[in-house]
């Protein structure tokens, strides 16, 4: 009996190791590239033979990277705050109140979650040019809020349903208006759900690429992933492989740490929208 058990344990262990290795190798590769010298990049080995920080010092001195990084942080945070706020209000109404048109709202959120972003690019490009929103922060914040909302409404209405009705009733009985019942009683209880939503919406904004390259033309609003695609070498003859890798690491590592730190919340949020929803 001991043998198959050991064998089984070994089998699981091997499967685990393979799964972990497959997820890590592409990440380690880009990290390794970011530490290679221009000559080292052309030797095609997995690890650098000679390590250098020059790729990092290069991009961190370049406004072509720093400005987009700040844009990413600013646009992501503002869009997240607005989306979480609006989604909380709508999700509260969906979970707690009785009003006609609720189904329409839910259906609309579902439709937008499925919406092909490319279909918006052509008309929005023209609209943003006409309104003067093209290549500005609001030009990206507004679509990000709209695409963050369905996710937020789903996750938050699932969370809001978990909160006991009685507390709200008790608050109303003590003389609170429905609005006070929301801000004083429900909102603190819903805070974990709101944090989860905020994380997922921020990750979406941080990751977004299509709108970021379509609705910007200069570094005044271009976000970091978009800037990466427009990187060029310091001269026509140097390949930007090293700087691109370093920039990719800079925008990725904080997010990975963030994701690992909040992993329980993220898993709960991703699955609550789909399974409980």
């Amino acid at each position: 009996m001991a043998r198959p058990d050991t064998g089984k344990k070994f089998g699981w262990g091997a499967a685990n190791t393979i799964a972990v290795a497959l997820t890590l190798i592409p990440v380690l590769w880009i990290v390794s590239l970011s530490f290679k010298t221009p000559a080292g990049i052309l030797d095609a080995t997995f690890w650098p033979k000679q390590w250098t920080w020059s790729n990092y010092s290069g991009i961190l001195q370049s406004s072509q990277f720093i400005r987009p990084l700040l844009n990413s942080i600013g646009i992501g945070l503002i869009a997240t705050v607005i989306a979480v706020l609006l989604a909380s209000m709508a999700a509260y109404a969906v979970a707690r109140l009785d009003f006609p048109g609720k189904q329409v709202l839910i259906g609309m959120a579902l439709l937008i979650a499925m919406f092909p972003a490319i279909s918006l690019v052509t008309p929005m490009f023209n609209i943003e040019r006409a309104l003067g929103l093209f290549d500005t922060w609001p030009g990206l914040i507004i679509p990000y809020v709209a695409f963050g909302l369905p996710l937020g409404i789903y996750i938050l209405s699932a969370f809001f349903r978990e909160i006991p009705w009685e507390l709200e009733k008790a608050a109303k009985m003590d003389g609170a208006t429905p609005f006070q019942a929301f801000t004083r009683v429900i909102a603190p209880l819903a805070a974990p759900g709101m944090v989860t939503t905020a994380i997922l919406v921020f990750l979406f904004c941080w990751n977004e690429f299509l709108f970021a390259i379509s609705f910007t033309s200069t570094i005044s609003a271009r976000t970091a992933p978009a800037a990466l695609a427009f990187f060029s070498g310091s001269s026509q003859f140097t390949s930007p492989t090293g700087p691109i890798s370093a920039a990719a690491v800079v925008i990725t590592i904080p997010i990975i740490i963030f994701v690992l730190f909040f992993q329980r919340r993220i898993v709960a949020g991703l699955t609550s929208g789909a399974v409980k929803g």
Partner: protein
């Protein structure tokens, strides 16, 4: 949908006094008003960013509108659609998109299920697997795409070196395979997490009872686990299929759509920023929108009443 909304109505009628239909009580009317008020901002933003531009795209798609010759704007009816649908570019992009969608979602379903079973069953290193599975999910798609791009670049990449200094990104079929690889790597963990949530809903007792009755592991998986997981699988497939159909980032970085590897999203983008043709670009937008709607309708037919979003009060 109808069953769910009926249930919702029944509970409502129970809660609100019977006079509701004729004359709303003051409280019910206030509740209504608050409900609309709370939803209004979200609805306004969603409509402004999606419904209005789509309606505008329908209008633009009926015009000859090229930004290079802005004075020649003219109503041309459906001729932009005719131009797109009779063009080889559209059909080629659609076929490429469908191939990428079907192949990558199929691979993701199998790998995602294996990964979900691994996370569900394994005891040693469970957290390590779960944690590392979140890395591809968290990584910025563009950054991951660059990792694959450099890995397959001759004389730079380790994968290219391992395969005899090959240059797969310059051949159509191989480039599509690399695009699928990048897509599968990035999104399998998401699939696995959705499936894992479904897997945890399968009662352990049922598994044990079947084991006692002599069912093999495979039989238990086919007869018990899969049928009980059907809703979770359909949700995961729906989201991933629609997502894969919209593929843009990976292709843009890996090939820029060169060597006939462009998806419909790449075609739409190129048409706007390459040809500056708003009329044709809008026709492409509308056609992609219709394709996505068809996929969604087909899936929701498959869901029956289990579609996400039809659930109002119950869980």
């Amino acid at each position: 949908m109808s069953i769910e909304s009926q249930t919702a109505t029944v509970t409502t009628v129970e809660r609100v006094p019977a006079t509701r239909r004729r004359q709303l009580s003051e409280g019910a009317r206030a509740e209504r008003r608050l409900g609309w008020l709370l939803c209004a901002p979200a609805v306004i933003v969603m409509v402004a960013v999606t419904a209005y531009p789509i309606a505008y795209a329908v209008y633009l798609s009926l015009e000859r509108y090229n930004l290079e010759i802005p004075n020649a704007v003219k109503f041309v009816g459906l001729s932009n659609y005719g131009a797109v649908l009779s063009s080889w570019y559209w059909w080629h992009a659609l076929i490429v998109t469908l191939i990428i969608t079907v192949v990558s979602v199929a691979i993701e379903l199998v790998l995602g299920m294996l990964l979900a079973l691994l996370m569900h069953r394994t005891i040693f290193g469970r957290n390590t697997v779960r944690t590392s599975a979140l890395i591809p999910y968290g990584i910025v798609t563009v950054a991951a795409a660059y990792s694959w791009f450099f890995a397959w670049t001759p004389s730079t990449g380790y994968l290219s070196a391992l395969t005899g200094n090959s240059a797969p990104l310059s051949h159509t079929g191989q480039a599509i395979a690399v695009i699928i690889l990048a897509e599968v790597w990035k999104t399998t963990p998401f699939m696995a997490l959705l499936l894992l949530a479904g897997l945890s809903l399968v009662p352990e007792d049922l598994q044990r009872a079947a084991k006692v009755d002599g069912a093999t592991g495979w039989q238990r998986f086919i007869r018990i686990t899969l049928p009980l997981m059907k809703p979770a699988i359909l949700v995961a497939l729906l989201f991933r299929t629609l997502d894969a159909f919209r593929i843009f980032d990976n292709i843009y970085i890996l090939t820029k759509g060169g060597n006939s590897t462009g998806s419909v999203s790449i075609l739409g983008y190129d048409n706007l920023f390459g040809a500056l043709n708003l009329g044709i670009g809008s026709a492409i937008s509308i056609l992609i929108f219709i394709c996505v709607a068809i996929i969604a309708v087909l899936f929701i037919r498959g869901f029956g009443t289990a579609a996400p979003g039809t659930d109002t009060g119950r869980r």
